[in-house]
């Protein structure tokens, strides 16, 4: 399996101001990395999920995600926004945005990885180290260490 996240999939200076803009920017990185085949189709799936219920979580987190036929390999794109982007959480905008792309159907392995990523998100220390990370490679290493225990 390819790496869940690489430095190319990290944007520490997200400039967008609304949900569609930042997910679009992160999704484009997934397309460039060859993880997503069809940008519009994938974004439509993300929107569908977001419409069911916003994915903002208290603590400044947004996790737009979808299982989509347009995803070729499971991947995570991470973005950080200084100004914050509204993801529908009650306590204000999200500063940490995780765009999770899972292929439709297929094996269980990557779903287990995403599950353990989701669990790590609930830990304050994990969130803080992502906020503190100085560059993209540090983010990748933090996530690898927390999610894979490497």
């Amino acid at each position: 399996m390819s790496e869940l996240i690489t430095a190319d999939l990290v944007d520490l200076e997200l400039t967008g101001t609304d949900r569609a803009e930042v997910t679009g920017a992160l999704a484009r990185r997934l397309v460039e990395a060859g993880r997503v085949r069809n940008l519009d189709g994938f974004l439509a799936d993300i929107r569908k999920r977001e419409e069911q219920m916003p994915t903002g979580i208290e603590g400044g987190i947004g996790i737009p995600h979808a299982r989509s036929a347009h995803v070729t390999a499971p991947a995570l794109a991470f973005g950080r926004s200084k100004a914050g982007v509204d993801f529908g959480a009650d306590d204000g905008p999200a500063h940490l945005i995780f765009l999770i792309a899972a292929p439709d159907g297929g094996g269980q392995d990557h779903l287990t990885i995403l599950a353990s990523l989701a669990r790590r998100l609930m830990h304050e220390s994990f969130r803080q180290s992502l906020l503190d990370a100085g560059d993209a490679q540090t983010v990748v290493e933090v996530i690898k260490k927390e999610v894979f225990g490497q």
Binding site: L111, T112, L114, A115, A118, R120
Partner: protein, 494 residues
């Protein structure tokens, strides 16, 4: 304090797990233990029955329906959306602790908990028994309600009410029957209405038994093929034994179909459309084509055989009729014996009719006696079914024994057959006669030698009871009481 929780969300890749983590952290921080079942896309490890049983309260953090929610019935429960758990795990845990303190609102024993689902990992024998018990536990209310209503209808309207409503001969009078239910009250009175309701409930016995055996095995997708198979079992006259076959068959077919890997697009419609469709077809074909024909020809064969014997030794015929009446309690063999009794009655031989009726009353009575004499050998649901069985037996509603026979056929059926054979022989030897084709104790006025007749029934009852208690000791001298207790606690309050 110990909790269990279920988390689930629409996509099943993020919130389900975040909620689980949040609840686990919150519980740990508060000094409690918690086990979370994550019903997400990465698959979940189901909570064990023991973990659920040990929990003081249950937390559901779910935006989609919790699967197999009935496992948690009777527990203090907190329900919330998945986000509430993520954002405020501590709050939910505090609520759960509060709910656990105040205890479950209704008393668990008084709750109509219908499901006695099967524990994973049990041995094949235990699982078979639990499958059957699941079906039986759902069937008992139908037996109790239907049987008691029929008995009441006999008390209120006289035993001929069955023929007034259903058509046929009773004590020399022919009734055409009433086809329009709206006319029953005006033509047959309240007794007729009670009979109609009761007999309608009885029509559901086999379909419900079959459907919920399949449910116990294969969950919801099993219900449709199981019920359809059960209806067909009734239609071909296969009785409750046919229902056991169709229920088990449905369960196995659905379990098999569930194993087939399908693309995710199709997976959504599998349990709702594809599996019930294919399973109903397979089970239906099996019942109609494979089982139906042989049953009909076997019935014809048995009828001819009985007719051939009718000139022979009368007490032997009484024994034979007794064995047949108790064999399947309303099934094909029972029907042959009963029809033979009816034919004898219409040609003026009232002795055989008396033997048939007495032998049909014995099985529920003998079993009811056994549930009183040795309470601990029966589950709570069985003891409750036993209370109803008294009235059903007295009313010549042999079906009252089906819950017991279906749950444990190899012990119950032979015991009932021996007792009924004894009653059949004695009824003939005592020279008892019956002018009535049914009605049990309520038509004792139409029975010749009524006291000896009751003695014959009483002896058969004692024989069935004795045989059953002996049989229950075979092979399970030390059946874990705990296991039986859990089954009974989960089964229905009849």
């Amino acid at each position: 304090m110990r909790f269990v929780a279920v988390t689930s969300c629409p996509t099943g890749i993020a919130h389900t797990y975040m909620a689980a983590e949040s609840l686990e952290q919150a519980a740990k921080a508060a000094g409690y233990e918690i086990k979370v079942e994550t019903q997400g896309a990465a698959g979940s490890t189901p909570l064990s029955a023991a973990e659920i049983a040990a929990a003081d309260a249950v937390v559901f953090a779910a935006d989609v329906e919790v699967r197999e929610r009935q496992r948690f019935a009777g527990k203090p429960t907190i329900s919330a959306g998945v986000k509430a758990a993520i954002n405020n795990g501590a709050g939910l845990i505090a609520q759960a602790a509060e709910a656990a303190e105040s205890g479950p609102a209704p008393e668990p024993a008084a709750q109509p908990q219908l499901a006695s689902k099967v524990e994973a990992g049990a041995g094949p024998g235990t699982r078979l028994r639990q499958w059957l018990m699941t079906g039986v536990s759902y069937m008992i209310p139908f037996v109790a309600a239907g049987g008691i209503l029929i008995a009441l209808s006999f008390m209120i309207g006289g035993a001929q009410v069955a023929k007034v409503v259903g058509g046929g001969d009773f004590h020399g009078v022919h009734y055409a029957g009433i086809t329009d239910p709206a006319q029953v009250l005006s033509q047959a009175g309240i007794g007729g209405v009670l009979f109609l309701i009761g007999s309608t409930a009885f029509k559901m016995l086999v379909p419900i038994l079959s459907g919920f055996i399949a449910f116990g095995m294969a969950d919801r997708p099993g219900i449709a093929p199981g019920v359809v198979g059960g209806l067909l079992a009734s239609a071909i006259g296969a009785g409750f034994l046919g229902g056991l076959v169709s229920g088990l068959l449905s369960g196995f077919v659905v379990l098999g179909l569930k194993k087939i890997k399908v693309p995710r697009g199709v997976a959504g419609v599998m349990p709702v459309v594809v599996i019930p469709l294919i399973a109903s077809l397979v089970v239906g074909l099996a019942m109609v084509v494979v089982v139906g024909g042989p049953i009909a020809s076997a019935q014809t064969g048995m009828t001819n055989w009985l007719t051939g014997l009718s000139g022979g030794t009368a007490w032997l015929l009484g024994a034979l009729l007794g064995l047949m009446m108790a064999f399947d309690m309303g099934g094909p063999v029972n029907k042959v014996a009963y029809t033979f009794g009816l034919a004898a009655l219409s040609s003026g031989n009232t002795t055989m009719m008396a033997a048939v009726m007495a032998a049909g009353m014995t099985p529920p009575l003998g079993i009811a006696l056994a549930t009183v004499v040795r309470k601990h050998m029966f589950t709570k649901a069985e003891r409750q079914a036993g209370q109803a069985a008294w009235l059903l037996g007295l009313s010549f509603i042999t079906e009252g024994a089906i819950p017991f026979a279906a749950a444990d056929p190899f012990r119950v059926i032979p015991s009932a057959m021996i007792g009924s054979a004894a009653t059949g022989v004695l009824s003939v030897v005592f020279g008892a006669t019956s002018q009535a084709p049914h009605g049990g104790i309520w038509v004792v006025g139409l029975v010749g030698h009524p006291l000896l007749y009751l003695v014959a029934i009483g002896i058969g009852m004692a024989v069935t009871c004795g045989c059953l208690l002996l049989a229950k000791n075979i092979g399970r001298a030390k059946e874990p009481a705990a296991q039986r207790a859990t089954v009974s606690a989960e089964t229905v309050a009849a």
